[in-house]
Symmetry: C2
Subunit: 222 residues, 2 copies
Amino acid sequence: MVQGSREPELPVKRLPVYLRVLDELIEKGIDLTDSKRLSKETGFTAELIRKDLSSFGSFGARGRGYYTETLRQDIIKVIGLDKYTNVVTVGAGYLGTALTRFNITKNPYIKMVAAFDIDPDRIGEKIIDVDILHISELKDIVARHKVDVAILTVSSDRAQQVFNDIIESGIRVIYNFVPVRLDITEGVHVLSTDLSLELQSLKYFATQLVQTSEKTSNLKIK
Amino acid sequence: MVQGSREPELPVKRLPVYLRVLDELIEKGIDLTDSKRLSKETGFTAELIRKDLSSFGSFGARGRGYYTETLRQDIIKVIGLDKYTNVVTVGAGYLGTALTRFNITKNPYIKMVAAFDIDPDRIGEKIIDVDILHISELKDIVARHKVDVAILTVSSDRAQQVFNDIIESGIRVIYNFVPVRLDITEGVHVLSTDLSLELQSLKYFATQLVQTSEKTSNLKIK
DNA sequence: TAGTGTGAACAGATTCACAGCG
DNA sequence: CGCTGTGAATCTGTTCACACTA
């Protein structure tokens, strides 16, 4: 589903989780923590956390734990969030608009630069304070701001074309929500989330759980 | 991130992909296909597809391939999509509304039953043809319809409380978009997608790709 | 002594190689 | 003969066990 560089995927996806927890701990004035506490807050095992952190070159203090502020800085540096991450949304329909809004209001470290569409009624409007522009302006915006990631939420039939346009504009990382298989160029990283298929696959677990609960009779909710 | 039953996660997530491709092939009047064709359409390797299908008890015809219609029926049966999958959305904000709309219009096999909120301004409105109800009616709706999955998109501070309410209503599978760690009961399956953190982690790959392209000099887009 | 860092064992998922069968 | 089905090898990721050190 994901193509791109040969880096370890899962450890990288856990780093932002650590970052969020550290932000919360620092907010509370806690400046020393340990892998056990981080485990409690994140749900990952303490060993895994230690392995993750050490593999990324961040080191704690033996016998003491981790200093929240230095660990936070290290993680920010490894992910690359020390500079603002500039993101555009391509496709300002319901989903694209909701995602843009979500990231403007709820995502520290992320700067939404612009949204793009082809619908004349949408162009010129704003999502909170972010302009909706015609897609022909994408190249220009990318040239002016260093755009790191594009969120792709156009219709299925236009997805490949728009994807190509995004790559041509110079963006190398795409977060794709369109339920199609994109033909991906070398040197490009795509994370695709297919919300319809995820939901369908959850039915499997629903069926499974009904069957097991029928067998083991009534589970009581604590 | 995902807790719940001990089933193989990834093969299950691929089944809906096969299903979609089979729907397309059947639409085109193709009634015999093979793992190579399915590989081309899905992006998974042919071996993996054969392993998946055989492990779920669906068998092809040696020397010929797979009959699209019987394979489709088998997959639908395994996932449990032979009955409609009833889904509710809890939290009818921008994201909840977009997801509801998306599944109403773009998701075959899924039936959106209702959306819930606490905002008096939202209650009584509709998302296309789906009613937005007060959350106090959740229990009643679940009792009347067999609801398989809840999409959770409330605010972070209310998430755990609403999650508990959902479990108490009898729903056992939750697709969670709220960026918090939920305290999950035994016998419950939760798929959490943290859209903010996913986006943050993509910055890592953006940085990585910029560095490698600088080293290997200019990549040309075909 | 408390908590990190890490080699070794383990587990899950994928690919390889090829046997099996219509 | 062609394409499936599958054991073996491999790869990736996680857990275990414990040496290490501030």
